[in-house]
């Protein structure tokens, strides 16, 4: 690599770090995002209440049953709703929020490629969303097993328990990666993200019913096979939790990353065409 190219790379790295830092400072742990924190931690509160009632002898449940409930929480709540809407709240604001607050031009007037701005904002969003939802999932996991005394603790510390936790945390991060890219793009394309979000939610919900080719054009298709525990298929909810035609696990991660990268690349193309016209915001 020539000296000029090396310098340019170092400058771009500094710029990327600067965008991430500024975005985290603006958006991380702000009161404005209370509802995202609620989405992230609501299950932990409910599981905590369940743990207390079990310890007080008001509720009787088995460890296997709680393992299935936890799988349901992750697959039906976090992946379908919590992370979905959390990412919508976080990522659509990253660019649209700056336009509403009339401060996006500060990025566009800096000697920085617009793609780096998109990437920096995206990384900040993924970091924040992964942190909140990762902590939420971890707390749910911990509270789900801690009240089972010795059996619960040994499960948590066993290979199975740890592999479940790691799988859930990985799925959480991957969901933030996938939905983050999607909502980053919708934030760029639409002034009001509610309508596209509803369309995406419907699309993701009927994924199990779609033809094989179309299934691949969704985020949930790649996430569900990575979950370590299946939610029982004897209920209506199984329609949303189980894919009839699952992708192989070893393909799911690269598949999701490819879909996310494609969406993000298109977002980079779009931001190159963006013009500052705050009047319409």
């Amino acid at each position: 690599m020539s000296a000029v190219a090396a310098t340019l790379t170092a400058v771009r790295r500094n710029q990327l770090a600067s965008v991430v830092r500024q975005e985290l400072r603006k958006n991380f742990l702000r009161w404005r995002g209370w509802w995202v924190y609620l989405l992230a931690f609501a299950p932990a509160l409910i599981v905590g209440a369940h743990a207390i009632s079990h310890m007080m002898g008001m509720d009787n449940c088995e460890l296997d049953e709680d393992t299935t409930i936890l799988a349901g929480i992750v697959q039906l709540y976090y992946l379908r709703l919590g992370i979905f809407f959390g990412c919508m709240g976080i990522f659509t604001r990253l660019i649209r929020g700056d336009m509403i607050e009339r401060s996006l031009h500060y990025y566009l007037l800096a000697p920085i490629r617009r793609e780096i701005v998109v990437l920096g904002k995206y990384l900040a969003g993924v970091s924040a969303a992964s942190f909140f939802f990762g902590v939420g999932v971890f707390l749910s996991y911990f509270l789900m097993y801690i009240h089972h005394d010795g059996a619960g603790r040994s499960f948590m510390l066993s290979g199975t328990g740890i592999s479940h936790l790691l799988a859930y945390l990985s799925v959480t991060v991957l969901a933030c990666v996938g939905y983050g890219a999607l909502f980053m793009l919708t934030g760029l394309l639409f002034r009001n993200p509610i309508i596209p979000a509803v369309v995406v939610l419907l699309w993701e919900s009927i994924n199990a019913l779609l033809p094989s080719m179309l299934k691949k054009l969704s985020i949930i298709f790649y996430l569900l096979p990575l979950c370590p525990v299946e939610v029982p298929a004897d209920k209506l909810s199984a329609l949303f939790a189980i894919s009839a035609d699952p992708v192989r696990t070893w393909l799911a991660v690269p598949g999701l990353l490819i879909v996310s990268s494609a969406i993000l690349t298109y977002a980079c193309v779009r931001i190159r065409r963006i013009e500052i016209d705050y009047g319409g915001e």
Binding site: N14, Q22, R25, R113, D277
Partner: protein, 323 residues
């Protein structure tokens, strides 16, 4: 003016608009603008909606021309990594990233230039000092007065030492002292060979510091160049000249006989007469004859409408705003 500029300056010293038009849907922003702007202080003058901000946004790539091409020192805005190292733009948007202090605001901007922490901090402090905001630098921008916000945005725009500074209404909201300091700063930067592009409604102040003026109305450039040159080209408006002398009434009575003189108005102190003439050369010849043949003692002869405000009135049709 254009051929002269082309011969004196190379492409990488000029801001060049080539047949640039911008439409917002059906609404005209600017139309068929051809400009070459040389270093120095250049003011964009025109009423609200004339296209001043559109021209500045086009110059800095915040909007893209519908037709035509813009180059600043030979660089297109589509190459931001080169472009914004030489361009600084202080926009009219009175808004800031949420929650920042003045120092953080300028520092963050320099970090976006890729500067490491220490250099960015020093650069921010230097720029903040230049606009006399050091004492308030650690306060949140949200608590600043309008003038302070204006100054901190100016600090941000100059912090990376750009060669081209584009300043949209930079004197708005400033108190007289800050305004005078800002004007001196712009003048110094212009004298250092930088491009300083200013839009302003405060015409008498623009007049004082501008090397050249661009008059805009309804999206069209109606005139450009040095104010005196532009005034000379406005031939359908009589030239106003103020003559100060002891026997002004004699001058006035003599001038009434001349067919090119439209008006001769005595000054209140009777030691001056304001002339409006359609032929300034014939007037000066006559005045020279009166001095040489009749011993007229003239104290001063000054053009009275050779300023931005008058030219604005002649070209654009309404009074310029003098604040």
């Amino acid at each position: 003016m254009t051929p002269l500029i082309e011969s004196r300056y190379s492409e990488d010293q000029l801001i060049r608009f080539e047949n640039v038009s911008k439409f917002y849907g059906d609404v005209l922003g600017v139309n068929r603008v051809n400009l070459q702007i040389a270093p120095g202080v250049t003011s964009l003058v025109g009423p609200n909606g004339a296209g001043k901000t559109t021209l500045m946004n086009l110059m800095t790539g915040l909007i893209v021309p519908t037709r035509g091409r813009v180059r600043v020192l030979g660089i297109p805005a589509s190459d931001p990594e080169r472009f914004f190292r030489v361009v600084g733009y202080c926009t009219q948007f009175d808004s800031f990233p949420r929650g920042v202090t003045g120092r953080e605001f300028v520092y963050d901007s320099l970090r976006l230039h890729g500067l490491p922490h220490r250099q960015a901090l020093d650069g921010a402090d230097e720029a903040i000092e230049r606009v006399n905001m050091t004492d308030a630098a650690n306060r949140k921008v949200a608590g600043y007065s309008k003038g302070m916000r204006q100054r901190i945005r100016l600090a941000q725009a100059i912090s990376h030492h750009p060669k081209v500074m584009v300043l949209d209404e930079p004197l708005n909201g400033l108190d007289p002292m800050a305004r005078a300091e800002s004007m001196a700063l712009f003048q110094n930067l212009g004298a250092e060979g930088l491009h300083v592009i200013i839009s302003s409604h405060i015409l008498h102040e623009v007049d004082r510091i501008s090397d050249q003026v661009i008059f805009l109305t309804s999206g069209y450039v109606v005139a450009e160049g040095q104010v005196h040159g532009v005034r000379d080209e406005v031939t359908d408006e009589p030239v106003q000249i103020l003559v100060r002398c002891a026997n002004a009434n004699r001058v006035a009575s003599r001038l009434f006989c001349e067919d090119h003189v439209v008006e001769a108005r005595m000054h209140e102190d009777t030691r001056g007469v304001l002339i409006r003439t359609r032929d300034a050369n014939r007037f000066y010849e006559l005045l020279n004859r009166m001095v040489a043949e009749e011993g007229l003692e003239v104290e001063a002869v000054t053009p009275a409408d050779d300023d931005v405000n008058s030219v604005y009135r002649y070209l654009i049709g309404s009074e310029g705003v003098n604040q």
